[in-house]
């Protein structure tokens, strides 16, 4: 029993050290932002990507150990809950952002999701992973918000094109720098296209291809027949392919 506790404590200490390192990386990034105007753009991008890859790698490492953090948070450990927020806040924000296409809504939803998690985590039995649980909660919250928006928005007003820019944190792909760069550029274009899409295509595509929902689950979530869901996803993929081909021609 003592050995098990000391092992757990060791692992928690390692995680806490990594979070502190992560915070240092973020502080360094903020200092770099202040000096951005004086630096060459290419150099600055490389530095940001290195730091962001660090963030992603560290987040991936945590995935294996988050069961213990979740257990601690369930027992009321505030520090453990803060670690969960640090681990999953960007993931929740990203999911909400692509669903809502709005940074303010994405922030509101992120806060709402974590408030719900905070108030109910002691009742979470852990039959699925914490990530799966928080992902489904985020999607449900987004769908509810979209329904409210649909009811209250003026249907006569046309869809405004999405003009905000967004910064992407990429995971590391491979060691081939040129291939890496081309892949990242294409990914940026794909994400731009997805974000600009009409809701009827964007939401099913995101739920199917980015969130791994089944057609049945998507149909039940958005109250549409399965056939319509499949058709819209197929059309969305076609739109992406056509727009990518157009951009490559130019």
């Amino acid at each position: 029993m003592n050995n098990k506790n000391s092992k757990e404590n060791n692992e928690i200490n390692i995680i806490e050290e990594r979070i502190k390192e992560n915070e240092n990386v973020n502080e360094n990034y903020k200092e770099d932002e202040d000096e951005k105007e004086n630096k060459v753009e290419g150099e600055n991008e490389d530095k940001y990507e290195d730091e962001s890859e660090d963030v992603i790698l560290k987040q991936k490492d945590f995935g294996f150990n988050d069961k213990q953090i979740v257990e601690k948070a369930k027992r009321g450990d505030k520090a453990a809950f803060e670690q969960l927020v640090k681990l999953y806040s960007k993931y929740v924000y990203t999911t909400a952002f692509f669903m809502m296409r709005d940074t303010h809504d994405a922030e509101d939803i992120s806060q709402e999701v974590f408030v719900k998690v905070y108030l109910s985590i002691s009742n979470f039995r852990g039959l699925s992973s914490f990530k799966t649980w928080i992902r489904k909660l985020t999607i449900n919250t987004c769908i509810d918000k979209l329904r409210i928006k649909a009811k209250t928005s003026d249907k006569k007003v046309g869809l405004e094109s999405f003009e905000d820019s967004f910064e992407i944190i990429f995971p590391s792909f491979n060691h081939n720098l040129e291939k890496n760069f081309l892949t990242r550029e294409t990914l940026k274009e794909v994400l731009d296209i997805i974000v600009q899409m009409d809701e009827s295509y964007r939401i099913p595509l995101i739920l199917r291809d980015l969130q791994d929902y089944s057609y049945r689950e998507i149909a039940s979530l958005i109250n549409k027949p399965i056939g319509t869901v499949k058709t819209n996803i197929h059309r969305a993929r076609k739109i992406i392919k056509e727009k990518l081909l157009q951009k490559n021609k130019h």
Binding site: S89, A106, E112, F114, R125, S128, T183, L187, S214, E217
Partner: protein, 103 residues
């Protein structure tokens, strides 16, 4: 379409950097200052979601319904294995009974 699948798969691992201040700080400060309105977020819909995510039976049924092909494959494999086992045991029993008769 294959290339699109590759890029769509890759987008699953991407994160977006929140534009303004740290999203973590906002979340943590909201949690530190919970209001009665925040407690109302645990409405009937959420409690229903929580109940379902804590129900092993519900999650198993969902898995089967969402992956019918996988479930059928496992079922056929089990039936095939069972059938083969019964056939093999009956063969062994036949051989044993025939060797007893000979003796």
């Amino acid at each position: 379409m294959n290339n699109i699948d590759k890029y769509l798969k890759a987008t699953k691992n991407i994160l977006i950097k929140p534009q303004k201040s740290s999203i973590e700080d906002k979340i943590l400060s909201r949690i530190e200052n919970l209001s009665e309105e925040d407690k109302k977020l645990l409405d009937e819909k959420f409690l229903n979601f929580l109940r379902k995510s804590n129900s092993r039976i519900y999650l198993t049924i969902e898995k089967i319904i969402n992956n019918p092909g996988k479930f059928l494959l496992i079922l056929f494999f089990l039936i095939g294995f069972l059938g083969f086992s019964i056939y093999f045991i009956s063969l062994v029993l036949k051989k044993l009974s025939s060797s007893k008769n000979k003796s």
